[in-house]
Every structure is written in structure tokens, then in C-alpha cells.
């Protein structure tokens, strides 16, 4: 499975994006880092396909 780089949420983008921001509210940097790490692991497992995950790794490693 190739990495899907087209918009793929099941609803309009802004609410879900803001939910992500809100998730970190009230957390210090270390707590945010820990939350992000848990989230990444959960999402990795949900995707499952190693090729897709590695493609996402590569895409994320490039800052812009």
C-alpha cells in the first residue's frame, strides 16, 4: 500500500485538526512528547502495513 498523500479524513478537516491541538492542552512539553509517542504507536498499529509506515517515516523526516 502506498502512502496516501491526498486528504483522507472522514469529515471536514478543521474540527479534527483542532481536536488534535486540544488534546495537548494543559500539558507541558514532556507530557506532550509522551502523548505524541503513544499516539504514533497507536496509529502505526492501526495502519499496520510496514511499507506504508516506512513511507510516512520518510515523508515526515523531510521538514519541508
Amino acid at each position: 500500500m502506498a502512502l496516501n498523500t491526498e486528504f483522507n479524513f472522514s469529515e471536514q478537516p478543521d474540527q479534527l485538526y483542532n481536536d488534535l491541538i486540544a488534546l495537548h492542552e494543559g500539558l507541558d512539553e514532556a507530557q506532550s512528547a509522551a502523548l505524541n509517542a503513544r499516539l504514533i504507536l497507536l496509529l502505526m498499529n492501526q495502519i499496520g502495513d510496514a511499507q506504508t509506515i516506512r513511507a510516512a517515516f520518510a515523508a515526515a523526516r523531510q521538514p519541508s
Partner: protein, 535 residues
Amino acid sequence: MAPYDYAPIEYVTPPELSGGTPKEAPVLIVGAGPIGLAAAVDLALSGVATVLVDDNNVVSVGSRAICWAKRSLEILDRLGVADRMLAKGVTWKLGRIYRRAREIYQFDLLPEEGHKFPAFINLQQYYMEQYLIERCRDFPGLIDLRFKNRLVGLSQDETGVTAELETEDGRYQLKAAYLLACDGARSLIRQQLGLEFGGTVFEERFLIADVVMDADFPSERWFWFNPDFHPGQSALLHKQPDNIYRIDLQLGPDADAEAERQPEKVIPRIEKIVGERPFKLDWVSVYSFQCRRLEKFVHDRVIFAGDSAHIVSPFGARGGNGGLHDVDNLCWKLAAIVKQEAGPDLLASYDEERIHGADENIRNSSWSTRFMSPEPGAETWFRDATLDLAERFGFARRLVNPGRLSVPCSLSDSALNSADQSGLATPMVPGSPCADAPIASPQGAEGWLLNQLGGRFVLLSLGQAWPGALPAGVEPLLIGEGGWQDTGGFVAARYGNGHYLIRPDQHIAARWQEADADALRAALQKAGIRQTEMV
């Protein structure tokens, strides 16, 4: 229980220095640790004589390697010491993983029936060495054990190796066609040959303490992340025979090794774990570890095996077990070469197959080490996130890595294999180590499949015998009508039907559903065994 006595082994003046006949053995083994001793026995079983020298005259001091995996026990059974090891050792298969005081999950290493040996036993290295030394004495004409004989010089040419050996009676020279360097992690032979030993050094320090106490802890492997008795670090508890418990404590990168091994430092740490129980320290060691290997293991007439060739971190029990895989892989090849049943180029497959195995072990033990001692920053975030999630979600338990324990190494890419065109769906593909199974002899005596394999090439036929004569050097084994019986149906489940060509190290070289004499001869040739032309 009296502590192990470490009885010194008698030194005998070698015949070269006592006016006797100088020894000429095809193989000189340097180092009487588990690997050198196992190699001597394995070669003797193939009828190949060895001289085995060691600079010391006592078995290894301290428990050192204690976890012996199922595949190692199968190898050691072929060598004739596994029954003793099993009788003395502590059998275990259950591992429990704790975070602080909470158990986050457990693993069962061998939930499958129909195997002679358990997933693991714990047995101190000194017992194993003792049993192997005693086994060597069963071959007085083939194994010449020489303790307190120290290798001080070494040269080689195209015919073999000349070793300079030093004893209390003086020096002498010994010639051999091949030299096995089984002289351990600090191998002098490796240094004498000027070989690079590349790899990674881990900064983390660990304390190993063997503690003697009367306790009724079950025979399980307990691993803690961040236990309350040792905050911020990891800890491991393992049971050994004679009421000895192995306690392994992570100390961090800045620990002072000399201070940490002093009893006044060690004892309070142990008291926090075992509570009020009285105990005695049997052996203490502080170590950091390294993952390294030689670029190749065969250097003309000098062949490296075990820790002299590759070292790993101890989490995963891949050091001693990996070394036994080397012995298993090397000795039949070396024996075939010495007996001129194979050409010297067969040794290239030892390099190929065991470098593959060593890399697998290094990879696994490096991953475990990083999980246990993550660098600050992202590595720690993900390690801790994994432990957080593992308490709640099954998937994350699979990511927790407290040591991935040694499993049989598959050689499915080996050049010695013949391509599998059998259409058989069972996992016993060429390169796999044979799975064991209970069987019964034609007379009805119960036994095990692996005891009928190994030590020579075997053609295992399932259901129907191979029609016609077999090439020289191959013995038939029929399971089915007129032969051995598949008493529990395990052979059929694990192998299916057809014919399997099995190497002396119990690895599958080729398999077919239909007998084909030409294919069998080709497969033997591919596995390195010379075939005479049919006339």
C-alpha cells in the same frame, strides 16, 4: 548444598616434552570453554582426532552463560550431554514482565507439544563444561585434552597450522591441518592475526549477582522495568540449580564498576529484592557490553567459532547458544573436508551461514539493549509510551523488548540448499532446522525424530520408502509402513509427506514429493558432498 568445587584438572606433560611420540592431529582446538569442548566431541563423533589446549586447568568460574535454548539442547543431545544437563538444569518456559510492581504481560516460550526438549533450561556454564570434559574422556583415542598448555605463537601455510605452545615443562610445537580458535571474547588468536573486531559498544553498565538462598520462587524469568526496589532501571531474576538465583541489575552509564562489585554495595541492593531471606553472594560481576563480529570467520587454516568470532549483549541468551550453532554448523563440514569427502571450499558456507546467524543475534540483542537502556529524548519517549500502552493494549505488549530469546536460526538463503519445488506446504523448507517429533521404532520402542537424524546425511522418507539404492554417504530413515511410526501424528503435521535430505547438523538441504535419483545426487553435490559419477 555445597558450593561448586572447581576441582583443578590434572596437567600432564605433553608427549612432545616427555620423549613420547609427537602428536599429529588433523585439528587443533584452542580454548576449552563450551564451544571448544563441544567442537572436540562433535569432531570425535565423526571420527576426527583433535588436540584441545587451554591455558587454564579449571572450568569457568562463575555461572556466566546460564540459559540454554531448545535448539542448543538438541545439538548437545547429539553430542551426548543433554540428558545430564536437563536432569541438573532448571526447566522454564514462562517469562513475566513487570513495570514497577505490576505485571504487564507474560510469555510462554513453548506452548507446543511433541518436543523432546523444553524451550529453555538454566544451568551454570561450569556444569556444562564439566559434563563436556567428561564426555570428551569417552574418546581417549580421538580427543587429546591438554590443560595448562598456552598458545604463544602461530603460523600457517597452505598445508596447515604450526602452533607454539607453552607449559610448565617448556615449549613445543604442534602441527595441525586446521586450528579452531575457540578462545573467547578476548581471543588472543584474533589479536595475533591482527583482525578487526568491529561493532558497537554500549555504555550502560549492569551488575550480575548470583545469590544462594532458600526460596521457592517458581522456575520463570522475571523482568522488571523501573521496579520500586531499583528505581529508574531494569532488573532480571532467573533461577539456577543449587538454589542459586541470577539477579541482573541495570546500573546506568555512569556507574563505577569497581565500587559496584564490592559486597557492601551489592548486598543492600539484593536485600531490597529478596527482603528478609538470608542469602549469600556466590559470584558478582559488573559489565558493559558490546556487539561485535569478525568480518569473516574462516582465515585460511584458522577458523573462529563462538565469542572469538562474535559477541552480543546477554539479553536474549544468544552468546553461548549462538556459539553452539557455530559448532553444529562447522564440525560436519570440517570432518568431511578432513576425510576428503568434501573440498575445502565447503568452509565458505560456514562463513556464509554463521555470519548470517551472528548478524541475526547481534541485531536482536542490540534492539533489546536499546529498549532497555534508551537514550534520552525520542528513544525514551517511545520506550515509555510502549510500556504505557502495554498495560492496556495487547498490540503494545508485542513491542516490549526485555530480550528476544534465542530461537533456531534458519538458513533458508544458504547456497547449500536446493530450490524447493516440492509443493509441500509445511514450514520445513530447505535451510530450516528439523523440528522434533515423537516416533517409535519398528519394534515399538518410543523415541524422538531428532535422535535418528544428524551426524551424517539422512534421507527421511515419509509414508513411502525411497525406491532404489541411495548414493554413498546417505542413510535412509523411513517413517511409515515397514519403518518407524509417527506415534502422535506430529511428523505428518510438521513435515507432510515426501522425502527430505537432511544435513548432519539436522538442517534440511532439499525436499521432494516424488523420488528422483538425479535430484538427490545434485542436492548432495550442492550441499558440498562429492559425488562419484555413475558408471
